[in-house]
Structure formats: structure tokens, C-alpha cells
Amino acid sequence: MKVNNPYLQDLTQGIVKENPTFRLLLGMCPLLGVTAYIVNGLGMGLAATAVLIASNLVISMLRNFIPPQVRIPCFIVIIATFVTIIEMVLQAFQPVLYEALGVFVPLIVVNCIILGRAEAFASKKPVLRSLSDGIGMGIGFTLGLVILATVREIIGQGTIFGPDPESAIHLFGANYEPMALFAQPAGAFIALGLLLGMVNVIFKRFNI
């Protein structure tokens, strides 16, 4: 199937072909750090997506005004501003999530996906295309976080939508003894390694 619409192409590229998690291996720190629970992974993904979309938009609008010699510091300041805004919003409206994500919220500023897209895409392309690239990359990153978090939470905790006892659904009943390794940092590395292997096989099979 050939897609001719460039906006659609930018959008889908970030989700499948250049998925930041499984293909480009960017943004690994939050990916491994916050995925013990699906809710945390989703929250991290949405926060990073919001910053990515906003920074892509602004950088693309300013692309003709930023002198190329000092572009990296300019990008960093723009990104840091949006991260500060997101941090304040989370702190005010989602304090539980903010606590759970901890230092990984301010660390969105050094997430290589965001600076990478600013440098490789938004600083060269028109506003609307940068917007759809930001949305696509954001969805791709969120997808990666949620997939890894789902695996880790089901195996490591035996629940989905935890740790809040009101929303947590226990999948295996009371007799299930969760495999604590997957809740530990070591399990994050191993789960991601195995997932990457699986994605490699699937992509090869379908020739993507």
C-alpha cells in the first residue's frame, strides 16, 4: 500500500517504521525506569508526547529565526520551558502520578527523542508536518512504554492498572505468586531485550 499524503506518512513513520522505542532505541531511561506499572508508563508517554508536540510546533515556527550556530541551546531552552510547564501541571492535577514518576518528569528535558526530532525534523520542515511528526513519534513512544509496562506489570505484579487498589485488576486470583524479578530493574532490562528480539522477528517476517 502506497501512502501519498505526507502528513499521514509523517504520522505513521513514528509509530511503526521508526518507532523510537523498538527501532531507534531512543529515550531508554524513562522507558526502563517508569514501566513497573501501566498507569505510570502511560502517564510518562503522554507527558513526553505533550512536550514533543509543543516543542516541535514552536521550533518549526521559529526555524527561520534561530541562527544555526546556536540552535542546540535554543532548542534546549524551548524544550525545558515546556517540561517545566508539564511538571507544574502534573504536580497540580496528578500528584500521585507525579510522585510515582519522580525525577523522570524533569528528565524529559534530556530525552533524546525530543531533541532528536527537533534537530532532524522540526528545524527543517513546515509547521503542520512537524506537528504530525510530533504526534506520531509521541504515540510510538507511548506505545513502547505501555507494551513494556503491560508485560512487566502482568508478570511482576499479577495485576493491570495498579498500584492503586481501586483500579487494580488481579488477573490470576489469590494463588498467584508474582515473579518479583520483573518488578525489579533487572527484569526491565531482560523484558525489553526479549521484546526487542520479538519485534525484530515480526518486522523481518513482514518486511517492514
Binding site: L25, I72, A80, L107, V110, P185, I190, L192, G193, L196
Partner: protein
Amino acid sequence: MEKLLSIIFIYILVDNFVFQRFFGICPFLGVSRKMETAIGMSMAVVFVMTLATLATWLIYTFVLVPFNLSYLQIVTFILVIASLVQLVEIILRKISPTLYQGLGIFLPLITTNCAVMAVVLLAVRQEFSLLESVIFALAASLGFSMALVIMAGIRERQELAKIPAALKGSAVTLITAGILSLAFLGFKGMLTL
């Protein structure tokens, strides 16, 4: 003294930045292919992390807090790190060309190394004093270096190993890191601050 020693012990072994806290995974995966580059990167990180923590601690305590500007910490810290890296690069090129040749290519990469940003943020959040912050940065960066060097040693041998086709590349590196992290789990809970 007791606190300083426990900070050193905790952030090198118990709470290793790479294996337990997931900071600096990108350079950990990116430059651990060869021992030589791993050592170069490690030295650059130790250098920049310690300096950055010193600078940001002073700015935070004497500028941001007195003027009630602590909400600007993300913007300030990242700018301090970026300009510090640039400064170190310029100074090194001038005074020690040999050292610059070794560290030069790694310096620009450090700006987006989340371990550096994490160290300066955590030093402030945990309310360390100046000396504690610097020791903390030194210990964290040494822990990072140790992880990087161990990984480089393993990966150099892995080049010759037979690995399933699907797991080649990053997948097997991540699984190896997982097993290493499992080993470091042995230190867990030995000491807390």
C-alpha cells in the same frame, strides 16, 4: 564522615546509576562496544558530572532559592550543563590537546546524558550540602563508569559468541545488562541514607 562514606558506597554499588536507577542508558548502550571508547566516555562523565554538580549547587543555593526562582531549575540546570560542557571543551583544547583528543568526541554527547541531569536534580532534591553533593556526583559517575567498563569488557567478548539472529545487536546487550543488574541486586538494602 560516616554519611560521606555511605554516599560513596551507596551510589557506586547499592544504587548504581545504570543498573538500579536507569540513568544514562543511552551512552551505556551506545559507547560500550569498545573498551577504549568506554574509558574515554567514563572519564569525560566523571569530569563533567562533578563540575556540573558543583556549579548547579552553588547557583541553586545562592541565586535560585534567595530570589524564589526554584521553579526555573530545569531551564537553569540544563543551560548550566550545556554551557559547562562547551567551556570544558574549549579549555581542554587549549591547555591539553592530548586529553582533548581522548575526551573531545564524547563531550558534546554528555549534554543529553540524562545521568548528569539526574545527578544535579537529585543533589538538590535530597538536600545534600555542597561537600555531600560533590561526593555524590563523584560516586554516581564512578558507578556509571564501572558499569560502562564492565559492559564493554563483556561486549568485546560477545563479538565472537554465537547469538540467535533475532537477538543480535541491542537485544542481547539489554539482556546482558539485565543479568548484570541481577548481580548488583545482591547489594540491595545493604545501606540506606
